[in-house]
């Protein structure tokens, strides 16, 4: 390749010289990329109908001798060719449009093997890095949302600063829900582990350690067909990230600077009532002197009307408070929750240097991200350094290396209804002035809280200032901190040897290693015992890979064959310690300070998979293609007798546009494939081990574990079938890509919940058959394309149905998860014969004939036990819509993603109602009275239904507090299920390229400035305001089915500056 280029170069120069004498004038100019105004080197500039031409230099400049009337043809691979007729002008600047649908598009497939896209018999979809990274998402994997048909992303709020972004490809493929795709960066599989739990800090998934600015493209291999070559780990799809690299022969050093700054605001607050304040009764309690006081022991808003009555607030009981002893109005604080949040910012700076010469190419990138969160005292600092280099040792032998270093240092807010500020919507008083709580610590070192015991009825003073159930949220933010830090290296080093022109041997060592530290503190002076925990988690994953790739064309027949082997070796260990019984010294956060024997766990995990595989693909006349592969995996985690297994795949494609001659159709392809993928399980699940119990006064206790391991486990297999077509019309300005697929996941290895009376809660078994069916449609269009204006549009949609066909001979329910609050449990179950993932819980009891709600003797609704099936939580469809407009130097890009169907249970909403904060608890009833007014005065909530006793219809008024607090807001989950449909404007970018004229006067080659907005608006959602259905990822849970103390949504707006030197 290199030689060829130099050769062309050489000839062009020769031609240029030889034509010096024939010239009439010299035209110069610059060729720019239309999209971003960046100079485009290496463009062929030819005079039509001649053999004369030149190419543009590193700065996109060219100079050519022409005669008037000549037609200049500007062409470059990946761009649309442009023709210009030479007139009087001496300068001809040209902007080249990217070729949206390059017919000879080359895609990187499994194991980094480049293939022509048209030869593939299965679906893949690619996004360019620049499209992915419109607005610097905190967790780059979140940017995939809506951009690829068949990929569903459930995110976390921006307040988490890089929180969990869960990715599902083609629905749920595993009963246990643990079907995350494999993430591969430049051929190196990297860990996408997640250390978060369903509450507490959301540390996010580790895949985000990839520097977004390094990403050249992301290619998603959707089914096992595409990923058969990754074996077990590719079973649920592969996200292949290709990073940018330097180019040989660049000569010049190219330096790019990318900076962005955004400000971030918390948003989407739940509307709350502003009529009644804290307490459980509408009368104030009074001090011995007759002064009324706020019911500080009650973390609910069922108290007196907030009519401005002067009362003693919690702060007035602190002798060290300047307002000690004072009365202040009992009035609503409509913005008290908003007041807790701050304006955050996100500052991102990146520099890349790339270059190369005859036999080397390199690219170095450095990136620094600093985020201050919208929750007080939260931050994330992230640094990425990447080095990609290759060196030709000889003509045939190349050594290459790609090394990435990432570090994250964060202090994150807690999510969940029981920690951090998540409780404010749920257990709080509408009369509390947040600004009064802001100075949470008095000068004497004591802390100010709001949730206190009532004052003594004798003295009117509070003597015990220990907070009851909740801390001052600022105390939480500044004293009960959670810190995490991660250092990570991943990358590879490899040799590529061209034995023959058509045979290449590659040997790579790939590695991903990280150390994750997590610390958390509970301070003296808050609720519960002070404590400290620290964990250090280390992972090292090595892949030793060998490949032989044979690629040759014999006449009409092309052959591509690969033979390879891989050894995967993982070693993971951690040491976790936590204090027990409190800390010996305030402020001394160390395990040494544990009052009682601390909890200590050290853990080691080892796993190996050895694999061999082969693949053969044949093409005939660029029209018919067939691929076949076979793989053998040996996993150390399976029982010895069952640990080796083979699985094949076959696919074919037919480029029928080669055979038909229809001008409108630029390209047409049919494809079909069948593939198997085998799967193993986590280590240590085939032999018995005992649990270690508490040590009682020197006596060790051991216990039989709750999960029963299984020495007879077998590998499980997924069978997938897919078929689809790829059509492009009107010179590729309209493209349609459609895939239909079916996947049968058989004999899955799951931990099945069994009757606890068996002595175990669950058992590792082979069970089940899940069937997934669905389609994916991707439409690409360029409705308008002129020199000055263009409009590009990409629309993706997919629909997936997951059905549990079989489970177990004796048990037909699989419980994926459950959540309990106030002794009421709800479940996510899968029932044999039903769609995957039913939300199950307590519903209204209903009259069979009329469907009306049954009421008890006290006219309160009756409820079922927690076995009512509310249907699947999975969405019916989801997708995205991206539009890019270019007008002169301006460009506007907007990304919308959407989801239809699906549902979730919202504990935040339920508790907001239960604790009297929700507006429904102060509604006006049909008597024109407030529902909180006494029943005898016409107040109360109107309920109608059928009396369970008499069978007669009943309409009655019931006490609002009992109704919402003890019945509906506590026990009837049916009320708190919400449809998860939404349409969200996820990203907007308005960019401007400074003109070439300006650049000539500045020391830059190109400058692009953009206004960017992340998550600017939720266009529509079915669920009530205050809950974001697109951000219900609950820590590391692989299926999102309930929301509990979700972090507030974050809207960001800012600027981005991109400079090339």
């Amino acid at each position: 390749m290199r030689n060829k280029t130099s050769l062309i170069f050489f000839f062009l120069i020769v031609f240029q010289i030889s034509n010096v004498f024939a010239q009439e004038k010299t035209v110069t100019g610059t060729v720019l990329v239309a999209r971003d105004g960046m100079p485009l080197p290496g463009v062929n500039v030819l005079i039509q109908d001649s053999n004369r031409g030149t190419i543009t230099d590193m700065d996109g400049n060219y100079s050519i001798a022409v005669e008037s009337g000549d037609v200049l043809v500007f062409s470059s691979v990946g761009f649309q060719t442009v023709e210009r007729t030479v007139g009087d002008q001496n300068v001809i600047d040209v902007r080249l449009e990217m070729n949206l649908q390059n017919l000879d598009e080359v895609v990187v497939t499994a194991l980094g093997i480049s293939r022509e896209k048209k030869s593939l018999g299965y679906a893949t979809q690619e996004v360019e890095g620049e499209n992915l990274n419109l607005t610097n998402e905190q967790n780059v994997l979140g940017s995939l949302s809506g951009r690829i048909a068949g990929v569903q992303v459930t995110g976390a709020s921006g307040a988490s600063m890089g929180g969990t972004q869960k990715i599902k490809i083609r629905g749920v493929n595993s009963i246990s829900g643990g079907d995350q795709p494999l993430i591969v960066v430049d051929g190196t599989p990297i860990s996408n582990a997640n250390f978060s739990e369903s509450a507490g800090a959301d540390f996010g998934n580790l895949g985000q350690d990839v520097n977004p600015n390094d990403i050249e493209s992301v290619n998603v291999l959707k089914g096992p067909a595409a990923s058969a070559l990754y074996g077990i780990r590719g079973q649920y799809g592969v996200i292949m990230i290709t990073t940018k690299s330097g180019q040989k022969g660049m000569k010049d050093i190219n330096v790019q600077l990318n900076s962005s700054f955004t400000i971030e605001r918390a948003a989407n607050f739940m509307p709350l009532q502003n009529m009644y304040g804290g307490g459980s009764s509408q009368e104030f309690s009074t001090l011995p002197n007759g002064d009324p006081y706020v019911a500080m022991g009650v973390d609910e808003s069922w108290g007196p009307r907030m009519d401005g009555t002067p009362v003693r607030h919690a702060w007035s009981f602190y002798p060290q408070d300047p307002g000690y002893g004072e009365l202040a109005p009992f009035s609503p604080q409509p913005d008290n929750i908003e007041d807790y949040y701050e304006t955050g910012y996100n500052l991102n700076n990146g520099v890349t240097v790339s270059g190369g010469n005859e036999n080397t190419a390199y690219r170095l990138s450095i990136n620094d991200t600093r985020i201050e969160g919208v929750e007080p005292n939260t931050y994330l600092n992230r640094n990425n350094v990447g080095l990609d280099a290759s060196l030709d040792l000889t003509d045939n032998l190349t050594v290459s290396s790609n090394i990435n270093y990432a570090t994250n240092d964060a202090q994150r807010p807690s999510q969940g209804s029981e920690s951090g500020a998540g409780y404010l919507v749920q257990w709080f008083q509408r009369n509390i002035d947040m600004n009064r709580l802001r100075n949470y610590q008095y000068d004497d070192g004591t802390f100010q809280h709001w949730n206190l015991r009532s004052p003594s009825s004798e003295t009117g003073e509070i003597t015990n200032f220990d907070p009851l159930y909740w801390n001052n949220p600022f105390f939480e933010a500044y004293e009960n901190t959670s810190n995490d830090r991660r250092d990570r290296f991943f990358g590879n080093i490899g040799l590529t040897y061209n034995v023959l022109p058509s045979l290449e041997l590659r040997a790579f060592v790939r590695s991903d290693m990280y150390t994750q530290n997590i610390e958390s503190r509970s301070a003296f002076g808050g609720t519960g015992l002070p404590g400290f925990s620290i964990g250090k988690y280390q992972n090292r994953e090595m892949n030793y890979e060998f490949l032989a790739v044979y690629d040759r064309t014999f006449g009409d027949i092309s052959v591509n064959a690969t033979l390879g082997g891989n050894i995967f070796d993982r070693r993971y260990s951690y040491l976790y310690q936590s204090t027990v019984g409190g800390l010996s010294t305030p402020g001394y956060y160390n395990i040494e300070a544990s009052i009682d024997r601390p909890e200590v766990t050290n853990y080691l995990l080892r796993k190996q998979i050895r694999s061999g595989f082969g693949m053969l693909s044949l093409g005939y006349r660029d029209t018919y293609f067939v691929d076949a592969s076979i793989r053998n995996d040996n996993s150390s985690t399976l029982p010895e007798d069952n640990n080796s297994y083979w699985y094949p795949s076959i696919s074919g494609s037919f480029v029928f546009s080669e055979l038909v001659d229809w001008d409108l159709l630029s390209f047409g392809k049919l494809r079909a494939s069948y593939a198997q993928a085998g799967s193993d399980l986590s280590p240590y699940q085939t032999t018995m081990a005992f649990g270690v119990g508490t040590v009682y006064d020197g006596t060790n206790t051991l216990t039989v574990p709750n999960n029963l391991n299984n020495p007879d486990i077998e590998p499980s297999f997924a069978h997938s079938y897919e078929a689809g077509f790829d059509l492009r019309f009107f010179n590729s300005r309209l493209g349609l890509d459609f895939t239909y697929y079916e996947q049968k996941n058989e004999n899955q290895i799951i931990s099945l919940d069994v009757s606890g009376a068996s002595g175990y809660s669950s058992s590792i078994i082979n069970a089940g058959l899940i069937e997934n069916k669905g389609f994916e449609l991707s439409v690409n269009a360029v409705p308008v394309q002129t020199d000055n204006f263009s409009w590009e549009s990409v629309f993706n949609i997919n629909r997936n149905e997951s059905m549990v066909v079989e489970l177990h001979p004796d048990i037909d329910v699989y419980t994926y998860g459950s959540t309990t609050y106030s002794s009421v449990t709800s479940y996510l179950n899968s029932y044999e014969g039903k769609p995957f993932g039913s939300l199950v819980g307590q519903a209204y009891q209903r009259d069979e004939a009329t469907g009306q709600i049954l009421l008890g003797a006290d006219n309160m609704p009756l409820y079922t036990d927690a076995t009512h099936d509310f249907g699947s939580v999975l969405p019916d469809f989801n997708g995205g819509f991206q539009n890019t407009f270019r007008f002169g130097n301006f460009s506007l890009a907007a990304m919308i993603d959407f989801q239809g169907g699906g549902q979730f249970f919202s504990r935040s909403k339920m508790l907001a109602v239960r604790t009297g904060q929700d507006p429904v608890t102060v509604a006006t009833n049909s008597n024109g009275m407030n529902v909180r007014d006494p029943l005898e005065e016409g107040g109360g909530v109107e309920v109608s239904g059928i009396s369970a006793e008499t069978g007669e219809p009943v309409t009655a008024f019931v006490d609002a507090r009992s109704y919402y607090r003890n019945v509906v807001g506590r026990r009837i989950y049916e009320e708190w299920l919400f449809d998860a449909s939404y349409v969200k404007l996820r990203e907007v970018r308005l960019g401007y390229n400074f003109g070439q004229n300006l650049m000539e006067r500045l020391p830059f080659e190109a400058v692009n400035v953009a206004l960017i907005a992340r998550n600017p608006v939720m266009i529509w959602q079915e669920a009530p305001e205050g809950i974001d259905p697109s951000e219900i990822s609950t820590g590391s849970q692989s299926i999102s089915w309930y929301e509990s103390g979700q972090l507030r949504s974050v809207r960001s707006i800012g600027v981005n500056l991109n400079i090339t030197f």
Binding site: S456, S636, P683, Y684, A689, L702, G759, T815, S823, D865
Partner: protein, 464 residues
Amino acid sequence: MKKSYIILMLSSFFLWSCDNFDDEININPNLPNQASGTQLIASAQLSLSGLSASPKGAFMAQYLAETQYVGQSLYPQESTSFYGWYQGPLMDLETVITSDDLNANEGPVANQVAVAKILKAYYFWNITDRWGDVPYSEALQGSEDFTPAYDTQEFIYNDLFEELKEATGMMVPGNIDGDIIYGGDMEKWEKLGNTIRLLMALRLSEVAPEKASEEFNLAWNAGVMSSNGDNFVFEHLNDANNQNYWYNQVVDQNREWWAITENLVEEMQPVNDPRLPVYANPARATGEFVGMPYGIEEIEGAETEDYSLLGSEIFAQDASIHLVTYAQVLFAVAEAAERSWISEDPEENYNMAVENSILQWTGTSEGAAAFLSNPEISFNSDTALEQIAEQRWVHLYMFGYEAWSEWRRTGYPNDLVTPNGVEIPARLNYPDNEAFNNRENYNQAVERQFGGEESIYGKVWWDE
């Protein structure tokens, strides 16, 4: 040459990918692969306090009232899981009982098995009393049976009698190690085994009086507890790893959620019961013992300082949890004598029962004579059964589930409250999950006992 080199490389790669791994690679290095009998027994013993320490149990017997977040004390229809008992202590005990390689260095193998059998019987007795029919003979079989059928309570009682006899019968001289209850003293275990039988027999007084009397006599003659020193008590430690449930609630979590009920205070206060200052602390506001009315959702202006909350000794970090006590034996004997099952003096046993209860709770029996001299308290053969039951209720303080069983059997105390007109439950509902994981057997059990509709008002077999 070159080609053969390549082939060699490739084939060597395929040779690597074989299925022989290091033998140890899939053996969990983080957990022990073996457990001794006494380690498992000790683990099962750690769960004992949980049988008693539970707000729900205290509500069933109306010892405690909720001061805030009133809900559970209103007796909602809700399921209560029994899984923890099977997966935890029972499976540990079953593993000991079925083991064929117990280590005799930790004490005679027969004694390890005997202790495991007694504990297993005690857990099952508690479970069946709460839920009714439960999985028993097919339970604890692991992968042999993931869906165990429910046995009738009658079958379970009969089988437990035999199991307990077998356990005490197999004992040989020699203590066992690692016993955190009795320090390995087999004599005490033998007495406990017989005492459990005695108390179980009494439970059948209404449903099968003859069988009850027969088993009672057998147990009595076999030798039951003879002093508070024989009591079956779980002692918590001054150590957060082994601390009292109530300490965590009241001290660590700062919860003043439970006050002593008005019923209990009215039972004890007028007769100057010396146990009251142990059971409860005086109300902070007044320094008096003030009980809280049970099951009232809203008490206007009520503050926790107005009521007597849990006694400091009750929520102490190292509090003792009394499970089976000598005073219970004496109350049982008094009642059996009153029923003419045995020829003992009911009054004498009643008096001793009260005296030993006071000794157990206050550390001294000094106030007993004065207390017994109260006209309401001193033995009256006309109301003996009621008196015995009332005093047993006072004695069983904080072991609400046991007191609730005795309330269901005897109907005393007969002045317990029905909050908002809601009756006191007659059993606990099965765990929701049984309807998922063990549906057929669950449905069968519900059908057999309650005609298809599960309810907390369905009666267990012995509850006539």
